[in-house]
């Protein structure tokens, strides 16, 4: 994904004027949030699979970013920081265990958004992606939505490039296994029945 460049240094350039550093921080942080929240929310949604989970992931990641704001001097690295926190938190066993306990309600899961031009396969694939183990799902989202390289994914997840490849391969194999009729171009409708 292409990051939007944001002018968050305007306050710093007014070096001669007395400034409230907290106000400057909040203004800069607010500018970043306004510019990047919709895009990062989309990634959070793909990772979490529902809106409540996406909001929780994003809020936590933004909060940790806020606490670390003064430390991160490379403003182009901000998206990566938020993404890293979201992915790793979503992959956490303990968080998943908590989510199962706290959100096991009768409410139907979010169905996402279905494009009117979708032949139905997009929705089906998305539902299959949601069944992948968290780490495989993270790899799929980072590779095919965020379009990160394998090396970049390895860095985000803290795993080797080889493991990224194996996770991606296993995820795609899993998707093929779940939807063999429609995803295998060599399989006919007759076969599918």
């Amino acid at each position: 994904m292409t990051a939007t460049l944001i002018d968050m240094g305007a306050h710093e350039r007014q070096a001669d004027a007395p400034v409230d550093r907290q106000a400057v921080k909040d203004a800069d942080f607010s500018a970043y949030m306004s510019a990047r929240q919709p895009a990062l929310y989309r990634t959070a949604y793909l990772l979490a699979g529902d809106h409540a989970g996406a909001e929780d992931l994003l809020q936590n990641a933004f909060a940790k970013l806020y606490l670390s704001w003064d430390r991160i001097r490379d403003r182009e690295a901000l998206d990566g920081y938020v993404r890293r926190i979201m992915v790793n938190e979503n992959n956490s066993l303990w968080r998943r265990a908590w989510k199962r306990k706290e959100h096991s309600t009768e409410v139907m899961p979010d169905t996402g958004v279905v494009d009117v031009y979708d032949d139905g396969m997009g929705g089906a694939l998305w539902s299959f992606v949601q069944t992948l183990p968290p780490k495989q799902r993270s790899v799929i989202v980072l590779r095919y939505y965020e379009q990160l390289s394998e090396a970049e994914i390895a860095d985000v997840l803290g795993i080797s490039v080889g493991t990224v490849k194996s996770q991606a391969s296993r995820a795609l194999a899993g998707l093929r296994a779940r939807a063999p009729q429609s995803l295998n171009p060599h399989q006919t409708g007759e076969d599918a029945r």
Binding site: M33, P38, K64, W69, V113, M121, G122, W126, G162
Partner: protein
Amino acid sequence: MNDRPLEEQVHDALHRTADPLDRSPLSVTDVRTRARRIQRRRTVAAGAAVAAVLAIAVPVGLSLVDPGQRSEVPPATQPPAPTIASGIVKVDPLSAEAVEQAPVPLLDVDGPALLQPDGSTVDLPGDYEALTPYGDGWIGVAINDAPGVPWSTIEILDADLEVVNDPVATGGLVVSPDGTRVAWSEYDGTQWRVRLADAAGGPASDHLVFPPGPEDHEVAPIGFVSDVEVAATQNDGRGVLSTFVGGGDSPGALPGPVEGRSASPVTGVVAGLKGSQDGRACSAVVEGVADAGATLWETCDHVLGPISPGGQYVLGSDPEADAYGSPTLTVLDAATGEEVVTFEAALPPRTAGGFATQLAWAGDDAVVARLFTGDDSAMMRLGLDGTVERIDVASSGASGLTVAEPG
């Protein structure tokens, strides 16, 4: 019928799902509220360091010698009782007394080099995240960033630092607290196993052999639970770690499951994660040998890490520690969970930082940890008697120093 490659279909499906979403549900107030909650938890927990601690238990005697002198090293299983502080000890690298020698071996990451406590330096042939004496040379966890090569491999080096084995994927290595044994995991292309050997040299033997499985079902040794037994975790491929003890080709998992972080051969316990409460990870100390899996005590205020060589203490980190480390490091009584002393990073206003992920026990009376303060870092010796020292050992580059021996 759809003839397009699956990768392309997945790409399109994800974009169809997400691209129409144009939501900004969070305000800055929401974020600041959550941030304050995180900060409050850090304060309440008043404890600990390190999100993912590499447990390191290094007897002082061992760290002072080279491989050839190992037999002269006295075991550290009965250390002298230190004077113990209590409450909170502020850790400020700028005001701390400076010492020029580290009590444990350190890795100069950008060298790369091993800096020994006696002041000598060993230039290394590659990057290692852990290194310990083995035979006449060394055994280490090498870090590789070349495509197609496992990220971490086990390497055995002779006295001339020549690699003498075929490097294979590993989940890490551990050293017994008395320095006499070393264990590591290997993946042979088919299955994972934990290997065990005398640190003085000699052949390695299989200690734990896991059923055939993929490489990403990684096995990582976490520590010795007795003189001859090693505990190890295995990832089930979905990110769930279980802890295995025992031996042979049918290792048994501790019930829970327990995601072990460290173990003690003195007390036979395992410390690790075991559940959650209010969204926070909770930790426990459980029996690792007798009545394996029985919980001795639990805490949701600390993420437990390394156990001291004598088994008396366990380190705990802040459950809310982030990528910049933990603001505190708490020493807990390993038998009861009672907080003994907390080291708190003295960070300037509006500066992120904390204790980083690799730390080491230096005997039973001190911890060596790297403390980040903004963009700066310093290796610190934190005495259980409340003394705080800055270890002024130069490093080659911005990556700085890290402790060398996992335990």
